[in-house]
Structures are given as C-alpha cells and as structure tokens.
C-alpha cells in the first residue's frame, strides 16, 4: 500500500460528498479508475461506510462550530443557518491554511446571503464586512492556498 495514495483518497472522500457517494455506490469501479496499488484498494474497500460518513459529517460539524463563533451567531441564527451550512460545506472543503476558518466563514456568508431573506442577508453582509476587515488587517487579501476542487493524484 502507498500512504500517499491512501491519504489522497481519504482526504477527498472525507471532504466531498459527491465523490464519497460515487465511492460508496461502487467501490471497486471507483478505485480501479484511479489505477492505484492493489493493497491500497484492499484497504479502502474494507472501510466501514458509517465510519466514513460519521467522520465526514463530524468535519462539517466542527467547521460549523468555529464558523458560528466567528460570525457570532445567536441561537436562532445558528438553527436557521445550520442546514444551509451543511449544504454549503458538503462539497466545499475548508482551505486557506492559517486563516482557513475565517475564509470558511467568509465564503459561507457569500453562499448564505444568496439563500436568505433580506433581514438575514443584511446581518450576514455586516459580518462578512467585519471578517473582511479582520483578514485585511492580517494582510490576507486572498487565501494563501485556495482549494480548486477534488483532484486525485496520478498514481501510475
């Protein structure tokens, strides 16, 4: 087994619901297409589905926990925006290294503003502006490392 292959595939399966569903639908087909080592295939085929889903959802729950604090959401706002965040996050991994959570909150504001009523839109706009000011004060005009979609390594 190659650790490089394993880590690449686990990272993608954990952060992209679309790829995870494709994998869970037909693991062998999914893995054969990647042309990876047979031992890695053996290992990944045996992954427990509930563990993969729980880990992936846990990542989103943790992200939302940080984002709600950064956006200073009250209880009502938290409940209103929870499902919106899950839709936003399930195929959009976190990125931006040191400021990844701030960028996550910033991108979520942009996403949620398009799906919210005018009152919520106004609140999110103001919090997005605060984040922008904070990031600018830290010299972060754009993320240091931007995520560009799930990308499998070329193994062979």
């Amino acid at each position: 087994m190659s650790l490089d292959e394993y880590q690449n595939i686990i990272a993608i399966l954990s952060t992209s619901k679309k790829e995870r569903n494709r994998f869970l639908l037909d693991r062998i087909k999914f893995l054969k297409e990647l042309k990876i080592d047979n031992k890695t295939i053996e290992r990944l085929i045996k992954l427990e589905e509930w563990q993969l889903n729980e880990f992936s959802e846990g990542l989103i729950r943790k992200r939302f926990g940080v984002v709600k604090n950064l956006l200073q959401l009250n209880e009502l706002e938290t409940e209103t925006l929870r499902s919106v965040f899950f839709k936003y996050a399930c195929d959009t991994p976190i990125s931006g290294r040191v400021y990844k959570h701030q960028w996550d909150a910033y991108r979520f504001c942009e996403y949620a503003m398009n799906q919210s009523n005018s009152e919520m839109k106004k609140k999110l706009k103001s919090r997005k502006a605060k984040l922008h000011n904070y990031l600018a004060s830290e010299g972060e005009i754009k993320p240091k490392k931007e995520w560009k979609g799930p990308k499998f390594l070329k193994f062979k």
Binding site: K100, W147, K151
Partner: protein, 283 residues
C-alpha cells in the same frame, strides 16, 4: 531503555507545570484576573500564528500571568509529502516569541497535496507511516530546537487492515523518535476505547508511559451510543479513572490541561476540575 533515557533527559530539566487549562477567548478575562486553581495555560498556536500586533499584545498579556505552552493542529506531521515549510517557519517564529519549555502537535495528518481535511485525520498503523513520521519529525527538529510532544488523537475512521494496533504503533513511534515526548489525551483514549470496544488499561500497558510529559482531559458527548469528543462537557468519571492510572504509570508528567472549547457557562466548575486534576496528579 536507551531511548527512554534520551527522552527523559531532554525533558528532565523542565519544572513541573501543574494543572492548567486551554486558553480560549471567552474565558480570557477570568484567567487574567483570577489565577485560582490554574497553574499554566495552553494556547492553540494557530490562533496566534500571524504574530500580528494584536496577537503579540494578547500573548504578552497572557505570558505576564502564566507559563504558556503552544499547541498546534495544522502542521500535518503524518503527511506523506512532508511538512509545509512556510507553515513550519511560522510555527518556529511563534515558538521563538513565546520561548516555552516545550510545544505540541498531533499524531495525524490534516493536509494532503493541497487538500485540507480540516481536522485531525488518523493514519493507517503501518511501517510506512512510522517512516513518514520519523522523516517529518527530523525536518521539524532541524528548524525548531525546543522539545516537542505528540498527542494521540480520537478517531472515528478506523484502519480496516491493521499491521499493528494503535498502542503498538505509538510505542514504536516514540522508540524511533527518542527525544519526542507523548502528550497523552486521556479523553481521546476513553472515547476510542468506548467507540471501538477495547480496554484502555491494555492500551496503557502497551505504550511506554515513561514518555508521557503532559495530558489532556475534558468530557465527551454521547450521541446515540457513539462518544463525540467535542470539548464541551464536564469530564466523565471514566476519564478521571484513567487519570488515576496516569498518576501511577507516568513518572515524568509535567502538566495537565483541561481542554474545553465550548459551553463556558461556569468558570467555577472548570476550576473545580483543574483542582481535582491537581489533587490526583500533583498533590
């Protein structure tokens, strides 16, 4: 035996820190103005990594009051492709600013070829993973001379094809990296032993407990029979039981940290927990 001596030697001149707490913004004022039952604090290094003027000011205020240990999450020491040199440089600058007796990271990977998983992800317990750790630890030690300790993580995703168990992996990892200490997270151990159905005493009997320099503890949340390590609840009795075992088995322990991230409803309750830890471990 020789490996243990090197590790102990590296940490033996460090004074016992005692019973501390993870520093978080919502409890900042309470910590600054009242030291009751708190001997030292641990910061999440990433929160200060920019070393901006405001970060330096906040850190200096904290350092005036307590010994400060930086704890990092994102270096990704288990990454096959190696550690991010820019990130490592930033960590080195922060450690230089704080000048702590030691610092800490995790036995995990968080990043892979530009994909940030967003949290601590377990590695398969293989010989190859051990070699990756050794190489990455050597890279880190070339840049940062301050001793460091590594934490065992909680995991939902279990390696289905085990070359070795988690405690066997940890035992070899610390054997092969003799000047790295173990940050034993007893909540992670309790959560894993419950969720993956193993005996934490067997786990403790397999690792080299002389390498434990610091511990973490906090409660966990029971969601339909699955324990979730969300750092938000009071420490469970089963975790205090492990702490009693730590007292018996870890002669080189320097400090304990209550690692609460949320639900800071009563600072008095948190102080009662740090007091109980102090009585168990350092009295």
């Amino acid at each position: 035996m020789e490996a243990v001596e090197v590790a102990v030697d590296k940490f033996q001149n460090i004074a016992t820190l005692g019973s501390g707490i993870g520093y978080r913004q919502p409890i900042k004022d309470e910590l600054i103005f009242d030291h009751n039952q708190i001997d030292f604090v641990e910061i999440v290094g990433e929160h200060f990594l920019s070393l901006s003027d405001s970060a330096k000011e906040e850190l200096s205020e904290l350092m005036d009051e307590y010994p400060v240990i930086p704890h990092f999450i994102g270096l990704s020491l288990g990454s096959y492709q190696g550690v991010d040199s820019d990130y490592l440089e930033q960590i080195a600058k922060l450690i230089d600013f704080i000048n702590p007796p030691y610092w800490s990271e995790h036995i995990a990977f968080t990043e892979c070829h530009g994909i940030e998983v967003g949290h601590l992800t377990p590695l398969p317990y293989t010989r190859e993973a051990l070699e990756v750790f050794k190489k990455n630890i050597e890279t880190v030690q070339k840049t940062i001379k301050t001793p460091f300790i590594l934490e065992n993580i909680t995991y939902t995703l279990d390696d289905p094809v085990k070359e070795m168990s988690e405690p066997e992996f940890l035992k070899i990892l610390f054997e092969e990296n003799p000047d790295v200490g173990h940050l034993l997270d007893i909540t992670n151990l309790f959560v894993n032993s419950t969720n993956h159905n193993f005996d934490w005493k067997d786990w403790m009997n397999t690792i080299d407990t002389e390498r434990v320099i610091q511990i973490h503890y906090v409660g966990a949340f029971d969601r339909d029979g699955l324990l979730i390590d969300n750092h938000s609840y009071p420490t469970l009795e089963g975790i205090w039981d492990i702490m009693n075992e730590v007292k018996k088995k870890c002669p080189n322990l320097k400090g304990s940290i209550l690692e609460r991230d949320n639900r800071f409803d009563s600072m008095d309750n948190l102080r009662m927990e740090t007091k109980r830890a102090n009585e168990i471990l350092f009295a």
